[in-house]
């Protein structure tokens, strides 16, 4: 079975731009979570979606938004990019409590 997939793998953006990151969960998983990991730290929770509804939100500004589609895939959108948004963005899917992570999207903001 395919694992969690994310696209793109790497991305370079300029301050003030907008970015969209994509995630496809493991087949049969209805829940998708997003995390941000900056260098040297553990991942920080951004959102969880279950059955297309937002189930949880972390301490991130409104520039961060997400949605989940009928096929359970998800997009994370970040507006007005700041240098501090440079990080590894991880997506995880789950069928119950255990979360499985994708390979991540490495975003660099210049």
């Amino acid at each position: 079975d395919a694992g969690v997939t994310q696209s793109p793998t790497h991305l370079i953006k300029t301050r003030g731009q907008h970015v969209t990151l994509r995630c496809s969960p493991i087949s049969g998983h209805k829940s998708v979570s997003w995390y941000q990991q900056v260098l040297g730290q553990g991942p920080q929770f951004i959102f969880q979606y279950y059955e297309k509804e937002e189930r949880g939100r972390g301490n991130f500004p409104d520039r961060f938004s997400a949605r989940q589609f009928p096929n359970y895939s998800s997009e994370l959108n970040v507006n007005a990019l700041l240098l501090g948004d440079s990080a590894l963005y991880l997506c995880a899917s789950s069928i119950q409590d255990e979360q499985y992570f994708g390979p991540g999207t490495r975003l660099t903001v210049t």
Binding site: S33, P43, Q48, R55, G56, A92, S94, D97, E98, P103
Partner: protein, 111 residues
Amino acid sequence: GIQVEQSPPDLILQEGANSTLRCNFSDSVNNLQWFHQNPWGQLINLFYIPSGTKQNGRLSATTVATERYSLLYISSSQTTDSGVYFCAVEQWSSNTGKLIFGQGTTLQVKP
């Protein structure tokens, strides 16, 4: 919110040695997972272990929920075990799927 502390922060071993990584958490949890993050950033699931003991090859883990800690044991370490090990928990009252990660233990296994 719940606090998660991992120790030690860094660990250097010779190949073949055994090690124990610890994760302390400050409140009741309904999810506890151990991960290994490889050099490319991929988080590999090691254990889902909110309580009890599990073993998988050279790795084993024990969570004592009543005392709010979990241990990850690595036996006969290999160079491929190098990387960062994370403990992550979901607080019992959360119901949001929010995993709180510790700061990680960076393991280096020397040949």
